[in-house]
């Protein structure tokens, strides 16, 4: 039995369905990331787990017990808010100790617990300050300390890093990951940043308009997205999604043709293991291929079995330091390829690109679902 179970959860505000039939669970010590564009209901879902929002129907169970009607303070959870929600009139020590004080923990035990949490987060020197005297990163640490000190069964994070600047965000991300490893805490984490999701999660749940799109490991989500939305949402730069037509090949060897403006269409093979019944001759499908699966000849994966080389006209070259992004146009859409940093590509020139089709995924253009 999973530690946290959300089953058949519905949430309506008046006539608006905010969450529709959510089913997701998390094992003890797991790290679940809820991700989706703004307004997808991910924060609402977190609040229903916290008990800050009521649910219309369905169940939330923690450690086997239904907590639907339990007050937030009785659920043995701690939450870190996007704005940190530090009490402005209290010192850092009072902030961290507040929950213990509310539970009637004695003053000396409280002080010891606060010191412990502060040591873990390296904020011992800040204990006497007020939130207004702290930097963003320090406030973030205090907010985490306030959650840690209670030693709750479940940690909830609501976009905790989105108010930090880019460098600090990366540092704190590592910090949270380290904290998770060290304490073995069970965490539910809301974000709209897919890098945070990929790096932190043991399990990712992608949401859109109140509907769960896919739940899986980061690798599942990244390599085998269940539909076009997940494919497009996860990954940066986004997956190339190209309209293609199935051309008659050998019996079990369908080929895809992709049109091009002003030059001959491209033909790409489909690896045998990925052939599905939907790939009948003449059918239209959508080919999904990540930028790193299109590269220069030197960087192509030597272990890949289905590599097709195509000569394309380079539109734009974007050197990114660690690698170089090349933009070209296929099937009427911009296609991004990720080349090694010193690859020689110049706009307006022809360039051979290698497509690693072992990494390709295929979608039904009508339903948007992955073909499998």
């Amino acid at each position: 039995m999973a530690f946290l179970e959300v089953s058949r959860l519905d949430k309506r505000f008046g006539a608006v369905d905010v969450l529709k039939d959510i089913n997701v669970d998390l094992e003890k010590g797991g790290f679940l990331v809820l991700i989706g564009p703004s307004g997808c209901g991910k924060s609402t879902l977190l609040n229903t787990i916290a008990g800050l929002e009521t649910i219309t129907s369905g169940e939330v169970r923690i450690d086997g017990h239904v907590v639907n009607d339990l007050h937030p303070s009785k659920r043995d959870i701690a939450m870190v808010f996007q704005s940190y929600a530090l009490y402005p009139n209290m010192t850092v020590a009072e902030n961290i100790g507040f929950a213990l004080e509310m539970r009637g923990v004695s003053k000396s035990d409280r002080a010891a617990a606060v010191r412990d949490a502060a040591r873990t987060l390296q904020i011992e020197h800040l204990l006497a300050r007020r939130p207004a005297q702290l930097s963003g990163g320090q406030r973030q640490r205090v907010a985490m300390g306030r959650a840690l000190v209670r030693k709750p069964r479940l940690f909830l994070f609501d976009e905790p890093l989105s108010n930090l600047d880019a460098k600090l965000r990366v540092d704190m991300r590592t910090e949270i990951k380290r904290l998770h490893h060290r304490t073995g805490a069970t965490i539910v984490y809301v974000t709209h940043d897919q890098i945070e999701a990929m790096t932190l999660a043991t399990k990712i749940a992608v949401m859109k308009e109140g509907v769960l799109q896919q739940v899986g490991t980061p690798s599942d989500i990244y390599n085998r997205p269940t539909n076009l939305f997940v494919a497009d949402f996860m990954g940066s730069p986004a997956m190339n999604l190209l309209e293609a037509k199935v051309a008659a090949g050998g019996a079990n060897e369908p080929r895809l043709t992709l049109t091009r403006n002003g030059s001959a269409p491209i033909t790409l093979r489909v690896p045998e293991s990925k052939v599905t019944p939907a790939m009948s001759a003449g059918a239209k499908i959508i080919l999904g291929i990540r930028p790193e699966a299109i590269t220069d000849e030197g960087s192509a994966d030597r272990n890949a079995r289905t590599l097709d080389t195509v000569h394309v006209l380079v539109d734009v070259v974007e050197p990114a330091g660690s690698d170089t992004l090349v933009v070209t146009t296929i099937a009427g859409k911009e296609v991004i390829a990720r080349l090694r940093a010193d690859a020689e590509a110049r706009p307006g020139e022809m360039l051979p690109l290698v497509f690693n089709l072992d990494k390709a995924v295929y979608f039904d253009p009508e339903t948007g679902q992955r073909l499998q």
């Binding site: 916290a50 800050l52 530090l86 009490y87 402005p88 929950a99």
Partner: protein, 292 residues
């Protein structure tokens, strides 16, 4: 800024002179009555009769102040205004404290514990701010009669609490409306109860609005004449009513110096509240609650 800050020449200098000249003129204009009051209260009656109103006292005396406080006759008793001053204090202190606390509680509930119909309730309370005093006199007198509070200071306290609730609720609701709700949610998860959240989280951050409300309520209630004259007569009358009775008494000599001193007693408390509490008005105590 530098161009405006330095003392310019030509048109800039002229406009500056005009602005400061006008400001000085109006300051004198508005301060003149106060000046006349203070000066007159330190003069003897003889000096008032043949002197210039604006002249400084030739032989300053505090006799009028002592008389106004302790011995001047109001109605039938000759004990000065001190008893009425005390009445006003006994009325204004509980009325301000109770209406401010209830307003804070209302604002807390109306913003952080929303319930169906909360907007309607707030609308009705807001409506209370715009009901003219005169229209509630008779129903209020009836209610006070039923409660057995007619003609007492306690009755007056109740009237001012009821009447002030609309304003105090409005002040606190608007202040708490922008108070981050995440703090309340965090406190809920931390296990704080309804009143613990109010007392430990909201109230300590409410300094500026409490000061605003206290100044507003104190000034209004202290200066009120209509309710005082209607609901508390005789020995229970507040300062404002007593001052009116003193000044309007039609028998004997008009002791302008004593009247002015009594008027100063009536005006002093609100002045003191402004001077003492006014500087807290602008202090922002909420800095750094959220992202800053």
């Amino acid at each position: 800024m530098r161009a405006e800050g330095s003392v310019g020449t030509g048109p800039a200098l002229v406009s500056r002179l005009v602005i400061y000249g006008l400001l000085a003129l109006f300051a004198v204009f508005f301060l003149l009555p106060l000046f006349v009051m203070v000066v007159t209260s330190f003069k003897t009656l003889d000096e008032i009769r043949d002197g210039n109103m604006l002249a400084l006292p030739v032989a300053p005396t505090i006799e009028p102040w002592l008389a106004a406080w302790g011995t001047t006759c109001i109605g039938l008793s000759c004990n000065g205004v001190k008893g009425f001053f005390a009445n006003s204090l006994l009325m204004v202190t509980p009325a301000v404290i109770i209406s401010t606390m209830l307003g804070a509680l209302n604002g807390y509930v109306l913003t952080k514990w929303r319930f169906p119909g909360d907007k309607l309730i707030f609308g009705l309370m807001l409506f209370a701010c715009f009901i003219p005093f005169q229209s509630v006199l008779i129903p209020m007198a009836q209610v006070l009669g039923w409660l057995g509070l007619a003609g007492t200071t306690a009755g007056l306290v109740m009237v001012h609490v009821v009447y002030g609730l609309g304003f105090t609720t409005l002040f606190f609701r608007n202040y708490y409306d922008v108070f981050p709700s995440e703090l309340v949610r965090a406190a809920q998860i931390d296990g704080a109860s309804f009143f613990q959240i109010f007392r430990r989280i909201l109230l300590p951050s409410s300094g500026p609005i409490i000061v605003v409300t206290v100044i507003y309520q104190f000034t209004n209630i202290w200066n009120d004449f209509l309710f005082g004259a209607s609901f508390a007569s005789g020995d229970a009358a507040p300062m404002t009513v007593a001052l009116n009775n003193l000044v309007n008494s039609s028998t004997g000599v008009k002791e302008y110096n004593v009247h002015m001193a009594a008027a100063m007693f009536a005006a002093l408390p609100t002045l003191i509240v402004y001077v003492v509490a006014g500087r807290y008005l602008v202090r922002g105590l909420m800095a750094g609650a959220v992202k800053g």
